[in-house]
Subunit: 202 residues, 2 copies
Amino acid sequence: MMINELLKNRVSALGFESGQIDQDTIENLISAATRTPTAFNLQNWHFTVMQSDEARQALCKAAYGQAKILDAAAVIVISGDLTGYRHLAERLDASVQARLLPAEVAEGWVQVATQAFHDNPQAQRDEAIRSASLAAMSLMLAATEAGWASCPMSGFDPDAVREACVLPDNLLPVLLVAIGRRAQPDQQQKHRVPLSEVMSVR
Amino acid sequence: MMINELLKNRVSALGFESGQIDQDTIENLISAATRTPTAFNLQNWHFTVMQSDEARQALCKAAYGQAKILDAAAVIVISGDLTGYRHLAERLDASVQARLLPAEVAEGWVQVATQAFHDNPQAQRDEAIRSASLAAMSLMLAATEAGWASCPMSGFDPDAVREACVLPDNLLPVLLVAIGRRAQPDQQQKHRVPLSEVMSVR
């Protein structure tokens, strides 16, 4: 399906039918999402697949009781890594070794990233949200193409989600993505405002 | 092309050849991006197409002189609307009128969104970055499918970008997306870490 069709056909599912999704499919979707770009190729993200009943219940509570979390076939918590820049040299090394990136460019990036993020909590948070959100969109489009409905959720208590996911403090939960079969198969995408309201030319 | 192929084939272009892109194509890409989901269907984004030489020069300066901004066929500044929740009732009305959303659900969303964002600058900023980033990924995938290379850029002075784009204070520049023809057609995507490093199951 063309990307325009995927984007038009995707809806944020109002509810899910009960059902299962296998682990391979989930891993394929997450793997696709990791192809998303990040600043300096930071790959500053983490994907937590909420599988056990206990983990789902805790997550549901952390997200103000949203029933989709219990009903969906899978829920993936996408977090951004606030301190991802600390691993940048190591992460770029594989690209340098494979001659995909000149060593001096990689070194320069590490310097610039360290300057940008070290001791700058707002920049760390902004970048964590940016990267995790970019990845979430890839994940949802991959799910749509594979025939799965999805619903992104940003209404939750981040500390409680971190606890439910057993995440360290450097990971900031950014979006929960529920995946499954729509309870309302005829659900249509909500209206969008005309382009002229959200676009300008300079 | 399948979404997995699009994700694997996309690269963040290291440079652009000179060339042009027509306005219809740009509008089609932005239109596709507006199909991206937002919390409560806020549509809290704005797309500024940088067309004039003067605007490009100002943007280039605001982005620390990155040459891609001058070389690309188009540069689109994607901003998030910090106060998008103020227009939510109005934006949901079209979906209510079209019976895509029950009126009482829309009213509930407006209440919850107002509680979440009113007098909460951090929540406003987080949501602005989240929505603009989700949209940026859709835009880049649509561009890839249409045969255009792209490069997302988050290294810039937001106030200077706002000035170059003539944006009001409620719009936060989140990502610059340059679009054009790659200077290095054989450029390959950089390495990604194994899935096990960025995924866990609970």
